[in-house]
């Protein structure tokens, strides 16, 4: 070992930052698509009858069973079969969004199920219209319930996006490999790449933390609603509500 050469990282900083920017871009687009699709999936699961719920379970079990790298390659080689010839970047984003939609769908469904019963009705009882009830009573609570698990899932999304390097999408991991090919300095390359991922994750967690704080006493309220969570997260006994 010959010591850590910072100048290597400095020399390739443009490359690495391009990669990081691409990762941010891919993550943001995939998040929006996956979350949007997750909402659809979650709402579908509330349709009457056993079929929609069973469909959501099957959908999520299948996607939770298969490694993302394989889903990515199936989509990558499968889309041309279906007559779609898309760029690697688009394929990667679609595959990642599709893969994550199952997870977001489960989170969204859980947040809806966790709403205390009678909230909508009590809003209606004071004379709010259905729309007002949603805006003033339901939505704020949904956001609180959704934030913490969505944050976790989004951190996973950031990390999982590194797999896109295997289909030559120029995100952070890929650019790290390019740098490694040019410099034969794995230590510096992967230290820089890890550091950037770490920063991206920490940044995302920080933003999410701010949002959670802005949402007020979200966590306390959530704990109180959920005795199971209280048993994990709180040192006080949950209040008994009959």
């Amino acid at each position: 070992m010959t010591g850590f050469d910072f100048s290597l990282i400095a020399d390739h900083s443009a490359l690495l930052l391009t990669g990081a920017a691409m990762t941010v871009y891919v993550v943001i687009v995939s998040f929006v698509l996956a979350f949007g699709f997750g909402i659809v999936v979650a709402l579908l699961s509330f349709l009457p009858g056993a079929v929609p719920r069973a469909f959501l379970s099957a959908y999520s079990i299948v996607l939770r069973s298969i490694p993302f790298i394989i889903v990515l390659f199936i989509v990558y080689y499968g889309l041309p079969f279906a007559g779609f010839h898309l760029s690697a970047l688009l394929v990667g984003i679609l595959a990642l969004s599709f893969y994550k939609s199952a997870y977001y769908g489960e989170i969204i469904r859980a947040a809806i199920v966790a709403l205390p019963r009678g909230q909508f009705e009590s809003a209606r009882a004071v004379g709010m219209s259905p729309r007002q009830a949603f805006v003033h009573v339901i939505a704020p609570q949904l956001v609180r319930g959704l934030l913490p698990p969505s944050t976790n899932m989004t951190l996973t999304l950031i990390k999982e996006s590194s797999v896109l390097s295997t289909v030559t999408i120029g995100e952070l991991t890929y650019q790290g490999m390019v740098m490694q090919g040019a410099t034969y300095a794995p230590l510096e390359c992967f230290a820089a790449v890890s550091g950037l991922y770490w920063a991206l994750c920490a940044g995302t967690a920080w933003i999410a933390g701010r949002l959670e704080r802005r949402a007020g006493l979200a966590q306390k309220a959530a704990i109180d609603r959920n005795p199971l969570a209280a048993s994990f997260l709180s040192f006080e006994r949950p209040k008994v509500r009959r």
Binding site: P116, Q119, V126, G127, A215, L217, A221, R241
Partner: protein, 240 residues
């Protein structure tokens, strides 16, 4: 009395999945009355309450609030369903205190009372907050205004729910099983509060299955069984 009753129910029937729950109920509640509706569980008292509050549509029959049709409209001889929007406008006339209270956990106690005033009655925040604080003082909640529901005791939560209903200046206050979600030692507290509301002239309908409680608080007892009114008589412990 020449004035219209606060609540008039006429020939009201409601079934769920073919099972009749409430059958041809007629009921008038006049201003200032405190009516306790008692009966075993499943006798239809909660359904009657919910139909009167416009939370369920009756299959047959009509509800009127202070002489105004609620849930239906008369056009000459023709009777139509009232539009949802019109029903939303009428609903604040009935203050409903749910069995589970259904406070909004994301809002402070004060905001639970302020929000509906602002959203539904279009009061300004300042007006709404003033009204809420006045009610909180009356109900002994002043110190708890900024607490969130999870930090309140069962009795305090119930008082917030009552304040939320009262803030909309309802003509009628309805309680669904006000004592069932509370610890037994709090029942006396609820009783005292209901009495003070009654002495202030509030018209109230209280659904309960506790005979003792009903007899203590109400000046009129309605006994229900199998979806019908079995008995309607003055209560012994009439507070006036």
């Amino acid at each position: 009395m020449s004035a219209s009753p606060v609540l008039r129910v006429q020939g009201l029937s409601k079934s769920f999945q073919g099972v009749p729950v409430v059958q041809s109920i007629d009921l008038d509640v006049h201003k200032g009355q405190v009516v306790a509706m008692i009966g075993p569980s499943g006798c239809g008292k909660t359904t009657l309450l919910r139909c009167s509050a416009g939370l369920e549509r009756p299959d047959r029959g009509f509800v009127e609030l202070e002489g105004q049709p609620f849930g239906h409209e008369r056009h000459g001889a023709e009777i139509r369903r009232q539009s949802p929007r019109q029903m939303d406008r009428m609903r604040p006339k009935v203050g409903m205190v749910f069995q589970q209270l259904n406070l909004w956990p994301h809002l402070s106690a004060l905001d639970n009372v302020v929000k509906p005033q602002v959203v539904v009655l279009k009061r300004t925040r300042a007006e709404a907050a003033e009204r809420a604080r006045t009610l909180f003082t009356q109900l002994g909640l002043s110190a708890k205004a900024d607490e969130y529901p999870y930090a309140l005791s069962g009795g305090q939560r119930q008082r917030v729910a009552i304040a939320r209903a009262l803030a909309l200046d309802p003509a009628l206050l309805m309680f669904d099983e006000p004592t069932s979600a509370l610890d037994p030692e709090l029942v006396a507290e609820v009783l005292a509060m209901l009495r003070s509301l009654a002495s202030g002239g509030m018209t109230m309908v209280i659904v309960t299955h506790e005979m003792n409680f009903a007899a203590n608080v109400a000046d009129r007892l309605i006994l229900m069984g199998k979806g019908r009114i079995v008995e309607d008589r003055p209560a012994r412990g009439s507070v006036k």
